[in-house]
Amino acid sequence: MNKLKIMVLDDEPIVCKRLKPALEKQGYEVDTFTQSSDAMEQIKNVNYDIIITDLKMKGVDGMQLLTEAKQLSPKTEVIVITGFATMETAKESFHKGVFDFIAKPFKLSEIQEVVSRAEAKIRGE
């Protein structure tokens, strides 16, 4: 079985640094970005199965990235991570096309569980 490719985008480096090994250990291939413009470029070149993105970032925000990613590859599943306070707004404005939402701070096991569900959907299980 091929490894799924995951992109992680968050302007707080700690989020990327901690998610990468945790997801790799689960058997995924993981690229991380702290600059949303870099991530925007990258999705034009690489087809990611799953994108995990923060919502509020300088420059291109999570919403724009989601739109672009879905346009390029409708099969890509997007998981949005956002601050607890902005969760409701996030859910409202994103009701289409987002696989799931996770509020910060979150446990590693929470995101691993969401990613496993996204994987099951992608693999058509």
Binding site: D10, V15, R18, P21, E24, K25, G27, A85, K104, Q112
Partner: protein
């Protein structure tokens, strides 16, 4: 920032002490308790986040702190409201406590207020920005692990900035670097010019004076080493910077400059350029350690880099100072030792050592020839090899990565750790190919997706089940601690455990805190752990999947080992730990000590403790001043017990159908009062052997006292209970002593408490103190936290479920009758034990209702009651 708030508060609550109705005070107190609980939960959350199971960012920290500050402000207001502004000082305390916390969050605290020079024993931890990586690591070794390291001090990064500024070096350094970067000047020329400028600089007096202050010891010679930020962390500057060994104290400033200059050596500059750091502001802290008169010294690598020796560590040793070993290992003794306890020596090679390096008598080092008869002798004993291996593995466990450690043995055969850093592993050695998940899917899983993570990580070893104190003394270092309990006494073996699995416990509990302190991966709440896991089984715990594997999962351990980041070392976690130190630590312990004042509040926890204690005191004392109850309806309790009790109902405490002014206990709806009265009414409670002083006489004399103190609308001469359905505040005057009980019985355990205060009496202080002893021993037996001062007894219980509170109120009820004449009967110290025993025997049935087992977790009280 408070001045505006202060003014508006002054307007709202003028300083004049006014009587506020008890109802209002009580409501304010409830709000205060609620705020306090939220604040403590917030602190517990922050503590939990420091365990690594969560991903959080800086914003989370900023938001939590601002919420905490808001709650504290409300608590300060609340206390001032119920005390008629007696604690106005707390507003400035709040300001003082939170201002460094805000500065930490802004990120510049470390340098702006820091000293130029600080001793290793006093230096703050988690501040490598100030003290550099090497010194920070040594600080942790000394403070947390208790492994011997030479004493000394750090010349901080702030001193570096001061030195550069004092000598006008910034511009000069910058322009020489620029010329080199632009290719207009050679590396050697730029480096040489910068180093020359530094060596020609003057160490400012304020720095040199502080250096002198730190060198007033008998040991005249010092080792001066670089401690650059990042040096021993992710980046490895190993060997790039200079060390000066065996320098006399008077030459420290010169040696300091020499070490600073090495920050701009051609090698260091090339390295920083490769790492893309040349544009960043460089700074260097310098570590000064007392010179160890080394008989032998060397290096340990906690992971042997030779692939033929998996699971081994390597020790290199030679006579004299360490330079021989550091610079070339061919002529050193080499020991290959099992990483696992008891650290068997797998292989040893004793080299022929013709010369050695020693400290020259006037400072510096010199090479000398070894006498022929010891050239082929081993430089260290096997027991030293064993101790070194043990400490080395403790260091690796703590720092979470294979370590390279420099050590020395002095002429008295004491072993010292000189420095330790991350061992550089080449990419080939670190390679983990293929699908890591598939690789360890072959290991049988013993526990999966269960429990709560107290501290995150991977730990492997043999199971050792600890059931009692006795098991602890034989706990093999590096084993997995498996236990039914989370008792505080386990704390002493946590540092030597490689992982912890407990059947009970919560992430806010004591064991979790200790596991975090020593960075030991810990999974709690696995209810059958001691059945699934047997003594001696080799297992691997991975908290990230809350999984326990059978066997040693090398693939997983290697995977963890080569990850770029140890979460404990990341800036966010360091910041959180620094914040927690200012928030969660508790310094105000004894509410009756003279230092229990707002001025002595150091942390947020101290403030919460202070406010809590004072608000309870205020609440408890208010019913004594009857003007608060002007016009209130007071019920008289009809009972066979000779205790004249009046009840003031705040609402819901008495059957609403009832008219008149008399009430039977069956008509009382207040749960705490009913529980207490059950205890009061136990047969025997009021019929101890007759005492010589007439009970009624005492009652009448107390009536007079009460009358004099009171004098409000309510008739004096009785005991008063202020109640609602879930609350009771009881003031008793029995005999000449004064007893106060305040209790709540909510559904939520965290809202519950019992406070018990007992003071006074007719006899001399000695007898009254004996009575305090009796009460204290009895109450401790029922898990109260008890404090005695002379004849004053204060006992507390917090956070217990309703049913537990109920059984404790039974005890207190029984104790009221039992204690009323106790001081008269306690004629000698021997009587104390006898009376304690008498009570415990008589009310043996009350003990039965108490929970067994997890006592320590039950009595968790956020530290408020201790």
């Amino acid at each position: 920032m408070w001045s505006r708030i202060k003014k508006s508060i002054k307007r709202l609550f003028p300083r004049k002490r006014e009587k506020i109705a008890f109802q209002q005070v009580f409501e304010q107190f409830q709000t205060l308790l609620q705020n306090q609980q939220e604040a403590m939960e917030l602190i517990a959350d922050l503590g939990e986040k420091s365990g690594g199971d969560y991903i959080f960012d800086r914003k989370y920290l900023v938001d939590s702190i601002s919420e905490l500050q808001d709650l504290l402000l409300r608590m300060v207001k609340g206390l001032n409201l119920i005390s008629s502004e007696r604690y106005y000082e707390l507003y400035s305390t709040l300001d003082r406590v939170f201002s460094p916390i805000e500065m930490e969050l802004r990120g510049r605290l470390a340098l702006s207020n820091a000293p130029y020079v600080i001793s290793l024993t006093e230096m703050p931890l988690d501040t490598p920005e100030l003290t550099g990586g090497k010194a920070n690591a040594l600080g942790e070794i000394i403070h947390k692990l208790g492994i011997p390291a030479p004493s000394g001090f750090v010349i901080t990064n702030r001193a570096y900035n001061r030195f550069v500024e004092y000598n006008d070096l910034e511009e000069r350094i910058h322009s020489w670097l620029e010329l080199w970067m632009l290719g207009k000047e050679t590396l050697e020329k730029s480096s040489g010019q910068i180093r020359y400028s530094i060596l020609a600089g003057i160490v400012p007096q304020d720095i040199s004076r502080q250096i002198r202050d730190n060198t007033k010891t008998d040991n005249e010679f010092w080792a001066i080493r670089s401690s650059a930020y990042g040096e021993d962390g992710d980046l490895s500057f190993a060997g790039l910077h200079e060390s000066v060994l065996n320098a006399p104290a008077t030459q420290i400033p010169d040696a300091y400059k020499q070490v600073l200059a090495s920050l701009y050596s051609p090698e260091a500059l090339t390295y920083r350029r490769q790492m893309g750091m040349i544009g960043e502001e460089a700074a260097m802290a310098v570590l000064c350690q007392e010179m160890i008169d080394s008989r032998a010294s060397g290096v340990i690598q906690t992971l042997s880099l030779e692939s033929s020796q998996p699971n081994c560590l390597a020790i290199y040793a030679a006579f004299g100072l360490g330079r021989t070993v550091v610079e070339g290992r061919d002529s050193s003794d080499r020991y290959i030792v099992d990483r696992a306890y008891p650290h068997k020596i797998v292989f040893k090679r004793i080299a022929k050592k013709e010369s050695f390096v020693r400290a020259a008598s006037r400072g510096g080092e010199e090479e000398a020839i070894l006498p022929e008869d010891i050239q082929s002798k081993s430089s260290i004993s096997e027991s030293a090899v064993n101790s070194l291996a043990k400490w080395a593995m403790a260091l690796e466990r703590y720092f979470k990565r294979p370590q390279e450690i420099e050590w020395a043995i002095d002429s008295a055969d004491h072993i010292w750790i000189l420095q330790c850093r991350k061992l550089a592993i080449s990419p080939e050695q670190a390679e983990t190919d293929g699908n890591i998940r598939e690789q360890f899917s072959t290991y049988p899983i013993l526990i999966e997706n269960r429990g709560v993570v107290a501290h995150a990580g991977v730990g492997s070893g043999r199971v050792y089940i600890v059931n009692n104190h006795g098991d602890m003394s034989v706990f093999p270092e590096g084993s997995v601690l498996v236990t039914k309990y989370t008792a505080p006494w386990l704390a002493q073996i946590v540092p030597i455990a490689t992982a912890i699995i407990a059947e009970k416990g919560s992430v806010a509990g004591h064991l979790a805190t200790i596991a975090r302190e020593f960075r030991v991966p810990a999974l709690l709440g696995i209810d059958n752990a001691t059945e699934v896991l047997q003594n001696g089984m080799e297992i691997t715990l991975d908290t990230h999947h809350r999984t326990v594997y059978s066997g040693k999962v090398d693939e997983l351990i290697n995977f963890e080992r080569v990850q770029s980041m140890v979460f404990e070392e990341s800036p966010e976690f360091r910041l959180l730990r620094r914040l927690l130190k200012r928030i969660a630590s508790l310094h105000l312990i004894d509410p009756y000590a003279s230092d229990f004042t707002p001025g002595n509040c150091v942390s947020v926890h101290d403030m919460i403790r202070f406010i809590h204690e004072k608000s309870v005191q205020e609440l408890m004392e208010i019913p004594g001043s009857l003007t608060h109850f002007k016009g209130a309806k007071v019920w008289t309790l009809e009972s066979d017990v000779p205790l004249d009790l009046r009840i003031l109902d705040l609402g819901g405490g008495i059957d609403p159908e009832l008219s008149g002014n008399k009430v039977k206990i069956e008509q009382v709806r207040s749960l705490p009062l009913r529980a207490l009265w059950e205890g009061v009414s136990y047969p025997d409670s009021w019929s101890t052997r007759p005492v010589e002083i007439d009970f009624k006489g005492l009652m009448s004399s107390l009536t007079r006292n009460w009358d004099a103190a009171g004098g409000g609308a309510v008739n004096a001469g009785f005991n008063l209970a202020v109640v609602n359905e879930l609350y009771m505040n009881l003031h008793l005057r029995l005999g000449y002593h004064f007893n106060l009980i305040d209790a709540t019985m909510y559904e939520q355990a965290q809202r519950n408490h019992i406070y018990f205060r007992f003071v006074g009496g007719v006899t001399d202080l000695t007898r009254r103190s004996r009575r305090a002893q009796v009460l204290s021993q009895i109450l401790s037996n029922y898990h109260f936290n008890v404090l005695i001062k002379g004849d004053l007894v204060v006992a507390r219980l917090l956070d217990l479920p309703k049913e537990e509170i109920k059984s404790r109120l039974h005890v207190i009820g029984a104790l009221i009758g039992f204690s009323r004449q106790l001081d008269i009967q306690l004629k000698s110290d021997q009587d104390v034990d006898q009376f304690v025993e008498q009570f415990l025997n008589r009310y043996a049935n009350l003990t039965k209702s108490l929970p067994g087992g997890g006592k320590d977790e039950q009595i968790k009280d956020y530290g408020l009651g201790r």
